[in-house]
């Protein structure tokens, strides 16, 4: 495995971890960021493949308003 490939895998793992943490610890902020990015990608005039990515990225309309999503998961209330 070349150093460049190792670096790429590590960067991907760190990015996924950061996103997952953001979703758990700050669900509303995470939802807003995801929505902004998806709307930006879906603007008319963008290439079709970018619009497809934007559509895939568009978050659901429901967002938790409780303590669920804060990362505890100990009380099983967030399933």
């Amino acid at each position: 495995m070349t150093p460049a490939l190792q670096l790429g895998v590590v960067a991907a793992l760190v990015g996924i971890s950061a996103l997952s943490l953001l979703q758990r610890l700050a669900p509303r902020a995470s939802w807003q960021v995801q929505a902004r990015i998806s709307y930006w990608l879906e603007r008319s005039g963008r290439p079709a493949w970018l619009q497809r990515i934007g559509g895939w990225l568009r978050p659901s309309l429901a967002v938790t308003t409780s303590a669920c999503g804060t990362g505890c998961s100990a009380c099983k209330a967030c399933k």
């Binding site: 590590v10 971890s17 943490l21 505890c72 100990a74």
Partner: protein
């Protein structure tokens, strides 16, 4: 043919959940009712006749006149008025056959709803052993609904109920107006259908004479708790050592198969050193829950609440706070949610504010790590394990501090709370292995979900912050010294130096805010990155910290974890339950102040004594 929807309903402690487990096995789905923090348990099973049944385990309730959110859910589902919940085709009302005088009242109340209903007389084996004779046919005729016998803890104990479900649905009972004295109706039914022996609870009475004794009861309770923590240390040690050995061998094999570079460092120093260290504590957490679930199943816990009512009243709380505080031993979040059953707002707030002081299971890895590293594995007085004694002392410190804090909070608020405790003491019973197994499996799943979820994410991020930026050309010393985490740790160090924390501990405190166990993973990662040897990094956090810290520092960190509000989720739940940022702020500030002061006193005192 669509599945039959049934709902299990009944008083608390009637064996409803045991019957649910018996019917569904592991085919259960646990979720939450929308908008409230009441657990919703649903399961699927097939009857011997091939009928598909969807069963809902409703929260226990004493009456349809709801006095808590749990009872309100039960009331609304039974009435068919809960939005989003299908109206059950059949209500299966579960009643404890050994305590029909109490349980029949709710049966009569449910019958008034005029819905198809079956009465399951549970614990029939115990009732027979006690000489309670129930004329089932006559009871069936008098109630006007089918009555079946069940023994939820026995393999074929639900056979009669399953056979009944294969038959056609019973006709709905006639809905009647809310008139008539239910107690009088129960008394009439009891006189006609149930023959009680002269004394039906001989064993219970004999046990209660000791277990509820004002002095001996407390001594026995303390002894049970003491035994629990001794066992957590002594019995889990072989399993923990074996698990640590497997993780170490696996880690070395995986790291050895990778070429030198950042990915190998992430796997060895982050995943195996960090996550592996947390995983090692699974046996201890499960053993702790074996005890908690056994005590719960045996019917001892409500008695403990009754026993502790007086000491808790002295602290300004009541026995009503006991169950929320006890739940906080697992996690403060369900404990804080359980305070909804406390009707007096002042008592409820005091319980919420002190709940984080109870030692949650997430603190167990931190305690165990430090105790293993600094407290010798010695026997005291020829019997007691010294490490277990220290663990007991830490749990006791949490409880004593919670009572002291509650006393101060109640004095500051100068209010009279509710001082009446009404508890139903269920009969003693032998814990059922199936229920115990399901409970333990649930706890193991929760722990593994945390390890593979938030703890994994935080460990990867901490490894990144501890590895980058890379050290400059010609730099000497470990790379972590030049990293972002290293700089943050050194920036925090002056604030925490008076309580004996070095910069490595300061780093571990930050991710520990998201989940307390991460502090262990963080320490393992930070120390792993400071060593040159992968094998040493993966397997040896205890010796590393034992060599680097003084005993005073270790004691100070232990005390810090007794008090510190190192959990963002708990703060978020305090805010939600009190609907006040002010109360969440007060909890955070007072717990941090308490942690800092207690650690300061511990560290300075220990250092003065030469530790």
């Amino acid at each position: 043919m669509s599945a039959l929807n049934i709902a299990l309903v009944g008083n608390p402690n009637c064996g409803k959940t045991a019957l649910f487990n018996r019917l569904t096995g592991s085919r259960q789905k646990v979720a939450n009712y929308a908008g409230v923090t009441v657990e919703r348990k649903e399961g699927l099973f097939r009857t011997p006749g091939g009928r598909s049944v969807r069963v809902l385990d409703l929260p226990g309730a004493y009456s349809l006149e709801a006095a808590s959110p749990d009872e309100a859910i039960t009331r609304d589902v039974c009435r068919g008025t809960l939005p989003g919940e299908a109206v059950p085709d059949l209500l299966v009302c579960v009643a404890d056959a050994t305590n029909l005088r109490l349980h029949l009242r709710f049966v009569l109340e449910l019958r008034r709803l005029g819905r198809p209903m079956v009465l399951a007389l549970n614990l029939m084996d115990v009732a027979r052993r006690r000489g309670i004779r129930i004329d089932v046919d006559r009871l069936q005729a008098r109630l006007g609904l089918p009555v079946v016998e069940t023994v939820a803890v026995k393999r074929d104990g639900a056979a009669a109920l399953l056979a009944r479900l294969d038959d056609a649905l019973p006709a709905a009972a006639e809905a009647v107006a809310d008139d008539g004295d239910l107690h009088a109706q129960v008394a009439a039914l009891m006189a006609e259908c149930v023959a009680l022996p002269a004394s039906s609870g001989g064993l219970d009475d004999r046990l209660d004479r000791w277990l509820l004794h004002p002095v001996w009861g407390l001594v026995i309770l303390a002894a049970v708790m003491f035994l629990m923590f001794q066992a957590v240390f002594s019995w889990a040690a072989p399993l923990q050592d074996a698990l640590a050995g497997w993780i170490s061998v696996l880690g070395e094999a995986v790291a050895g198969a990778l070429p030198d570079g950042p990915l190998r460092s992430l796997v060895a120093d982050g995943l195996f050193a960090g996550l592996g260290t947390v995983m090692e504590f699974l046996p201890q957490i499960l053993l702790l829950f074996v005890f908690i679930l056994t005590l719960e199943e045996s019917g001892y816990l409500p008695r403990a609440a009754f026993l502790l009512d007086r000491p808790m009243r002295a602290a300004g709380l009541t026995g009503r706070s006991f169950i929320p505080l006890l739940s906080s031993f697992a996690c403060a979040i369900p404990g804080i949610m359980a305070t909804r059953s406390i009707q007096d707002p002042r008592d409820r707030l005091a319980t919420i504010l002190v709940a984080p002081l109870m030692t949650c299971s997430a603190r167990l890895p931190v305690y165990t790590l430090l105790i293993s590293a600094f407290i010798p594995r010695e026997t005291v007085a020829g019997v007691f394990n010294l490490q277990g004694l220290v663990m007991f002392a830490l749990y006791f410190a949490g409880v004593a501090s919670a009572l002291a804090a509650a006393w101060v909070i109640q004095r500051l608020r100068r209010g009279e709370g509710e001082h009446v405790l009404l508890l139903e003491l269920p009969s003693y019973r032998l814990p059922n292995l199936l229920d115990l197994g399901i409970g333990l499996w649930e706890r193991a799943r929760v722990f593994l979900r945390r390890v593979t979820g938030i703890i994994l994410s935080l460990t990867v991020l901490l490894w990144f912050l501890s590895s980058y930026p890379a050290p400059p050309e010609g730099a000497v010393g470990p790379a972590i010294d030049y990293s972002l985490a290293g700089r943050i740790g050194r920036w925090m160090e002056p604030l925490f130096a008076p309580i004996g924390f070095n910069w490595q501990i300061c780093i571990a405190l930050i991710p520990g805010l998201a989940a307390r166990e991460v502090a262990v993973a963080a320490l393992a990662t930070v120390y792993a990155l400071s060593t040159a040897n992968d094998a040493e990094a993966i397997s040896a956090l205890s010796p590393l910290i034992a060599a680097d810290w003084s005993l005073a520092t270790a004691l100070s960190l232990l005390v810090w974890y007794v008090y510190a509000p190192q959990c963002l989720s708990t703060i978020a739940v305090i805010k939600r339950e009190t609907n006040s940022w002010k109360q969440a702020g007060i909890a955070t500030v007072y717990l941090f102040a308490l942690a800092y002061l207690a650690s300061l006193v511990t560290f300075q005192l220990a250092r003065a004594l030469g530790a």
